[in-house]
C-alpha cells in the first residue's frame, strides 16, 4: 500500500511520531496490528534491505499514526522522510488484542511499547472500560505523548528507572500495588518486562495479553524467522509472531525460549 505522510514529528531526541493518510489501510486495521514499512528513500538502493515492523499507534479518520524510536539505519532513515511524500507499507498485519467491554483494565507500556498500547487504551476507553496505564521508561526521554495519554486513560502512572519523570523504579511496582483493581492486563515493552507482567498476572489469576517484538524478514508468515514458543495443553508449539502474533496470551508464552 501507499500512503501520504501528513507529519513526521520529532517528539524528543529518540522518538518520532509519523502520521500517514491511507483510507484503505485505516478501513482494514485492527487494534494490536502492525505494518511492515519501507524506510529507504529510493527503491534502487538495497541498504537497508528489508522493511521494518512498526505497531499501529492510532487511527484517526483516514489517517493512522506510528510512534517509533530511532535505533538503527532503518529508523534513522524513516526519521528523515518529509511531509507530503508517498511511503509504502504492507496492509495491516498480525492478530489483535482481544477487545473487552466495561472491564477494569491495566495497561503496561515499556518505552516504545507505548505504540500499540496507545490505540488499545483509546479503544478500551471507548468500550466503557476503566483504563489505567502504567508507563515506564529508563529516563524522562522514554515517556512521550503524556498529554494525549491522559485524555484516553483513567489513571496514568509514569515510572522511570532514574526518577527523571514520574515515580522512580520499575513499572511493575505500582502495578503490583493496585493489582486487586483489575479484571484484565495488557502489556507491550521489553521482553523481561513482559515476562514479569505475565508472571504477576498469572499469580493473581488475571488474563494477560502481551504484544511481542521479534526480528522479522517477511512479516507475512512465510520466512519462519519470527517464532514464539507457546504452551498448548501439554505441548509446546511454534507460533509466528507476525501472523499468530504479535499479541500472545502472556500465561502461555514459554519465556525461556524468547530471545532477549
Amino acid at each position: 500500500m501507499l500512503g501520504k505522510i501528513i507529519r513526521n514529528q520529532k517528539l524528543n531526541d529518540k522518538y518520532y511520531l509519523l502520521e500517514i493518510k491511507c483510507e484503505e489501510f485505516v478501513r482494514e486495521a485492527k487494534v494490536g496490528q502492525f505494518i511492515m514499512i519501507n524506510t529507504r528513500h529510493h527503491d534502487y538502493t538495497s541498504d537497508p534491505l528489508l522493511r521494518r515492523p512498526l505497531g499501529i499507534a492510532n487511527i484517526d479518520g483516514d489517517k493512522f499514526t506510528l510512534v517509533y524510536m530511532v535505533v538503527g539505519k532503518g529508523t534513522r532513515l524513516l526519521s528523515e522522510w518529509q511531509k507530503g511524500s508517498d511511503i509504502s507499507f504492507s496492509a495491516p498485519l498480525g492478530n489483535t488484542f482481544t477487545p473487552v467491554k466495561e472491564q477494569r483494565t491495566a495497561l503496561l507500556a515499556g518505552g516504545i511499547g507505548i505504540a500499540p498500547i496507545f490505540w488499545l487504551a483509546k479503544t478500551l476507553k471507548e468500550a466503557g472500560c476503566i483504563v489505567d496505564l502504567y508507563y515506564g521508561g529508563r529516563t524522562a526521554d522514554d515517556v512521550v505523548l503524556i498529554e494525549e495519554l491522559k485524555e484516553i486513560t483513567d489513571h496514568l502512572i509514569v515510572t522511570t528507572n532514574d526518577g527523571s519523570a514520574g515515580i522512580k523504579g520499575m513499572v511493575t511496582e505500582p502495578f503490583i500495588d493496585n493489582i486487586e483493581s483489575y479484571d484484565t492486563v495488557y502489556a507491550c515493552g521489553p521482553k523481561p518486562m513482559l515476562r514479569a507482567v505475565s508472571e504477576i498476572a498469572v499469580k493473581n489469576e488475571l488474563p494477560v495479553e502481551v504484544s511481542l517484538d521479534e526480528r522479522m524478514a517477511c512479516g507475512l508468515g512465510a520466512c519462519l524467522g519470527c517464532i514464539i514458543y507457546v504452551k498448548e495443553g501439554d505441548e509446546v508449539v511454534q507460533k509466528r509472531c507476525c501472523v499468530e502474533g504479535p499479541v500472545f496470551d502472556g500465561s502461555k508464552v514459554v519465556w525461556d525460549t524468547v530471545c532477549k
Binding site: L49, R51, S88, A217, G225, C226, T257
Partner: protein
C-alpha cells in the same frame, strides 16, 4: 500476459520464467492475500522432509549489508501434512508448483521423492545444500560423490516428475557438482543456495543467529550467483534455474545471458511482495522493446569477446 514470457523448462510449461524461491514464499498461500500469486510462473515451496521438523531456536534471521542471514533450520510441516493441508488450497491458483525437498539420509531423500512423484505437483527441487545435514559424516552438497549418488538414486525412483537439483555455492568448484548432477540423471539444476555467513552483535558478543552461522542471501550475493550460473552453463547441457539476489527485471536478463532458462526470486519477496510481479511486467516490456519473441532467445548469449 504475452506468449513472449512462456517458458518450457524440463518439459513443463511455465506462463513466465519467474518462480518464487524456496523458503522465501512459505507454502505460497501466505502471499495470496498480498499479491495475485496466479500471475507467477511458479512457486518453489519451503523445503519439505519426510517428517515434520521444528527448526532452529531463535533468533533465526538478521539483516546484513544489502543481504540477510538466515538459519531457519529447515522447519517444515512434513510431506504428509504438506500434501493434505497446504497443497489443495495452493493448487486452486493457476501457477506451477515446485516442491523443494530434502532428507536427513539417502533413504529419506528417496522416500520423500517417491511420495511427491505421485502427488499433484509439477516438479521436484532437491536441496542438497543444507550444511548441517550429513550422510555418514559427509554433506551431500559439498561432496561430489554424494551428490552423484543421491541424484541417481532419487532419479531412479521417479516415474512422473522432473528432478531439479539445487546446488550449494560453498564449494571450490561448482562445475564438479553440476557435472555430478547431470551424470546422476538430473533434469535440471538450480543455483545457487545461500553463502555460509556469520554476524556478531558486538554489544552482547553473541552471534545474531542462534545457529552461529547462517545462509547469506540478497543482492549482496548476486555477483557470486551470476558467476556460478555461468560456470554451470558452460559445464552441463541440462537447463538451469538461476537464483541469488534477483530483485529487478534487469537481473533476470543478466542471469539469462549467462545461461539460466528460468529464475527464482528469493529475499526480494521480503523487501516487497510486489517485486516478482513487477519483474514479470518489466521483463515483458524489455522483450517487446527489443523485439525478442521469447526470453529463451537470450539464454547463454553473453558476449565474451573483448
Amino acid at each position: 500476459m504475452s506468449d513472449r514470457l512462456k517458458t518450457t523448462f524440463c518439459g513443463i510449461e511455465f506462463k513466465n520464467p519467474i518462480i518464487t524461491a524456496s523458503g522465501t514464499f512459505g507454502y505460497g498461500l501466505e502471499y495470496a492475500r498480498h499479491i495475485d500469486i496466479s500471475r507467477l510462473g511458479g512457486i518453489s515451496v519451503k523445503g519439505i522432509s519426510l517428517h515434520e521438523v521444528p527448526g532452529n531456536p531463535m533468533p533465526r534471521i538478521m539483516e546484513t549489508t544489502s543481504g540477510m542471514l538466515n538459519a531457519i533450520g529447515l522447519q517444515n510441516v512434513g510431506v504428509d501434512r504438506f500434501l493434505k493441508e497446504k497443497l489443495p488450497a495452493l493448487r486452486k491458483h493457476d501457477t506451477k508448483i515446485i516442491v523443494n525437498f530434502w532428507g536427513k539420509t539417502l533413504e529419506e531423500y528417496i522416500e520423500v521423492a517417491k511420495i511427491l512423484d505421485d502427488a499433484d505437483v509439477d516438479m521436484l527441487e532437491m536441496n542438497i545444500s543444507c550444511p548441517n545435514i550429513k550422510e555418514g559424516g559427509i554433506a551431500f552438497g559439498t561432496d561430489p560423490d554424494m551428490t552423484l549418488r543421491v541424484t541417481s538414486e532419487v532419479k531412479n525412483v521417479l516415474k512422473n516428475k522432473p528432478l531439479m537439483v539445487k546446488l550449494s555455492p560453498n564449494v571450490t568448484n561448482i562445475r564438479v557438482f553440476a557435472k555430478a548432477c547431470e551424470e546422476g540423471g538430473a533434469d535440471a539444476i538450480s543455483a545457487i543456495n545461500t553463502l555460509l555467513g556469520m554476524a556478531i552483535n558486538i554489544h552482547t558478543k553473541k552471534p545474531y543467529i542462534s545457529n552461529v552461522t547462517g545462509g547469506l542471501s540478497g543482492p549482496a550475493i548476486k555477483p557470486v550467483a551470476v558467476r556460478m550460473v555461468h560456470e554451470t552453463f558452460n559445464t552441463v547441457k541440462i537447463p538451469i534455474m538461476g537464483i541469488g539476489g534477483i530483485s529487478t527485471w534487469e537481473d533476470i536478463v543478466e542471469f539469462s545471458l549467462v545461461g539460466a532458462s528460468a529464475m527464482q526470486v528469493g529475499t526480494a519477496n521480503f523487501v516487497d511482495p510486489q517485486i516478482p510481479l513487477d519483474i514479470i511486467d518489466g521483463l515483458d516490456n524489455y522483450l517487446a522493446n527489443n523485439k525478442l519473441s521469447n526470453l529463451s532467445d537470450l539464454t547463454g548469449t553473453v558476449d565474451l569477446n573483448k
